[in-house]
């Protein structure tokens, strides 16, 4: 998929971002802009861990690396990872998320995460 093709993700009511093998953000959909308050222009091209330091932890970096090596998709459950991309609600609490990381195209080293 090309970056322009990821625009269709803007129509999904699910927070979605695409990262490359260096964990740099390639696409950040409108839903994630709304949820996180971070604009696409502020995050595309930078590493996820720059904005969310917990991605430095082994429980994320190790598992994500395995997907880039051709491993199965990942599930980050809401019990263990409730706020993987912190997203405040209007009442000040953080949105509870269940996240899936899966390969979008094994040939191109582009992958995406789905949060809901």
């Amino acid at each position: 998929m090309t970056v322009s093709e990821y625009k269709m993700l803007d129509h999904a009511p699910i927070g979605t971002c695409v990262i490359n093998i260096h964990c740099e953000v390639v696409y950040w959909n409108k839903c994630l802009e709304d949820w996180s308050g971070i604009l696409r222009s502020e995050i595309v091209g930078s590493e996820l861990k720059t904005h969310f330091p917990h991605f430095n932890e082994l429980k994320y970096s190790d598992r994500i690396e395995q997907v880039f090596k051709g491993g199965p998709p990942l599930v980050f459950s809401s019990q263990f990872h409730p706020h993987i991309i912190p997203a405040p609600l209007r009442n000040g609490k953080l949105r509870i998320q269940h996240t899936i990381l899966s390969s979008t195209c094994p040939e191109s080293s582009l992958y995406d995460t789905f949060n809901h």
Binding site: L58, P72, V75
Partner: protein
Amino acid sequence: MNLTATQTDAVQELLNIGIGRAASMLADMIQSRIRLQVPFVKLFTAKEIKEGLDGFDQKIKAIVELGFRGPFSGTAALLFPTESASKLVAALTGEELEDDDLDALTVGTLTEVGNIVMNGVMGSLSNFIEGHIEYSVPTYIEDTVESILAARNSAGEANILLAQARFLIEDMQLEGDIMLVFEGDSLNAFLNAIELDVTNEG
């Protein structure tokens, strides 16, 4: 079809390596000591499982399954009696168990645990096979083993590697099953690759 002693040893070792990695990841996540073991491995045909050999009951189980397709194809699944599944999640999260029913939160947690275990297993097994394997997103279901096999193995020709998975968390011991359903001739491709590796190392 039976596994030779060499094949059994090799498969058991691979599974132990895979779930050893999974245990390390889980321990890191829950900040607690956890051990995972595979005490035995057996090979069945779909027909044998259907006939209920070795006490394989037809009770509803909590199942996390992961489909794989490539040089070898099939389904990997982690199965628990539903009461063990809720006890496992309670042990991992440190939360009190109200009843054995699995709510959405518990199901999500169990799916992640199954995902970690099966990623470890598949990572270990796929090291022996060249070529890319495509995986499905892991899913949670509650069903009988017979229904799963009927859904995944319409031709009735699958081979099933069954391994006991033992979770040791603090002073608790919980047991489930790892089931690898190999479609068509996939198991032979996998076993041949293992044999080749054992021969080369010998």
